[in-house]
């Protein structure tokens, strides 16, 4: 690795490490994500439960519900990544020190690990509570990995855009809809294929393309929205 790339990577890793160090001391995002996800999971489990959904309907409905739980959990906890920097006024110090692309990647890596942890926690519980029979577990794992990446990347990008805005909550919802909608449609389709045992078809390559596009777009756009 060239010296320039290694120092850029070190910068991104420093941001990632700082995010987790602060998070483990405050547990704000962890508690928010976890509490929201578990609460909605329990409500869904109690309302629908293993006997509440017919098998034929389950393969259509349950993948949608899973991704809705993941989406709203992420929306509850991830926007703080950049919003908090502005609110606590640490953003100025970051602007004067950090390379924007390294900062974005460090924050993205943090978001990825948060989303991965959320999926590892929620998905087995969901499968068990809903008695969801998954014909292709490997494809489900791929759907969660690719969909989770897109959720993290899209949410990080939107969070960076809204961090300096006044109506953050409203703006997050408005901006998230067009960015995350394609992701959710593809992720649900892929998850449904995993449940019923169908091949992934075009959904997986499209989802991977979406992930790459959002990441590249975020890297290009972030310096513009971050700096004056």
């Amino acid at each position: 690795m060239s010296p320039l790339a290694s120092t850029w990577a070190a910068e991104a890793l420093a941001v990632f490490a700082k995010e987790w160090r602060c998070e483990l001391r405050t547990r704000i995002a962890l508690n928010t994500l976890g509490l929201f996800a578990v609460t909605t999971l329990v409500v869904a489990g109690v309302s629908l439960g293993p006997l509440g959904v017919a098998k034929a309907q389950g393969s259509a409905l349950l993948p949608v519900l899973l991704w809705l739980i993941l989406l709203f959990s992420v929306a509850a906890g991830l926007p703080r990544a950049f919003v908090q920097e502005e609110e606590t006024q640490t953003a100025t110090a970051l602007r004067l020190c950090a390379t924007p692309s390294a900062l974005f990647c460090g924050k993205l890596l943090y978001a990825l690990t948060l989303v991965a942890g959320l999926e590892v926690l929620i998905t087995p519980l969901y499968v068990m509570i809903m008695n969801l029979q998954v014909a292709r577990p490997g494809l489900l794992a791929a759907a969660l990995a690719a969909g989770g990446f897109g959720l993290a990347a899209g949410s990080t990008l939107v969070a960076a855009i809204i961090a300096q805005a006044r109506s953050k909550g409203t703006l997050f919802s408005v901006l998230s809809f067009p960015i995350l909608l394609p992701l959710l449609i593809l992720a649900v389709e892929l998850t449904r294929n995993a449940v019923v045992g169908d091949p992934p078809g075009m959904a997986l390559p499209q989802l991977l393309l979406y992930d790459a596009s959002v990441s590249i777009f975020g890297l290009m756009l972030f310096p513009v929205v971050w700096n004056p």
């Binding site: 070190a10 006024q89 640490t90 100025t92 390294a102 700096n227």
Partner: protein, 206 residues
């Protein structure tokens, strides 16, 4: 001596209908300090933020040269040393962890920052969120000088400092102007300050 100059000309900035800076001009060369004074709301902090590159002016030019080249706003932003009342650090991290983090971002050793904190008698194992206002000001100085910048932008640099703290930071400023190759400074304060090597004054008062 390395060639370093800061020149800003007719810098303007407004916030909505409020015009804060109305065509401000100045030049600073190595070994010199420009003192910017004026009442509250006259645009001192706004000017320094524009010079630091964290706020874009609405008009005018800012040219900062190190060596043979003018740095663009992105390069300038990463090179300046900046002290300001609204500069904050991570309250969940200790003083040492904050310095180490920003040193990694700046790709420098944190040793200089720790040496300054030692001179200013600030314990490094305190959580940044538990620091008093004067202690936070000392941390700002250590952070600003971490990467040995040539250009120092100091907004109310001695705010909240006790006598030893002010003496220590004045000494740091003196060393910067006398010993740092190409070192120069812009200092903003509501009232005039007695500082050696202030060669120019800019009063934004109305």
């Amino acid at each position: 001596m390395p060639k370093t100059t800061l020149h800003f000309e007719k810098v303007r900035r407004r916030f909505g209908r409020l015009s804060v800076l109305q065509g401000v001009t100045g030049t600073v060369t190595p070994g010199e300090a420009l003192l910017v004074t004026g009442p509250n709301g006259s645009g001192k902090s706004t000017l320094l933020r524009c010079l630091a590159g964290v706020l874009a002016p609405d008009g005018g030019q800012i040219a900062y040269r190190e060596g043979e080249r003018d740095l663009d706003i992105g390069e300038r932003r990463l090179r300046v040393g900046y002290v300001a009342p609204d500069l904050a650090f991570y309250s969940e991290l200790t003083v040492a962890e904050n310095l180490q983090f920003f040193a990694r971002l700046r790709r420098v050793s944190p040793d200089r920052g720790f040496a300054i904190l030692d001179r200013l008698a600030l314990p490094t194992d305190r959580m940044a969120g538990t620091l008093s206002s004067g202690m936070r000001q000392r941390l700002r100085w250590a952070w600003a000088l971490l990467h040995r910048p040539r250009l120092l932008l100091l907004d109310e640099p001695f705010q909240n400092l006790d006598a030893p703290g002010e003496e220590g930071t004045r000494e740091l400023l003196r060393e910067h102007l006398e010993s740092t190759p190409g070192g120069l400074a812009v200092i903003a304060n509501p009232s005039s300050l007695e500082i050696d090597r202030v060669t120019a004054r800019l009063d934004l008062g109305r």
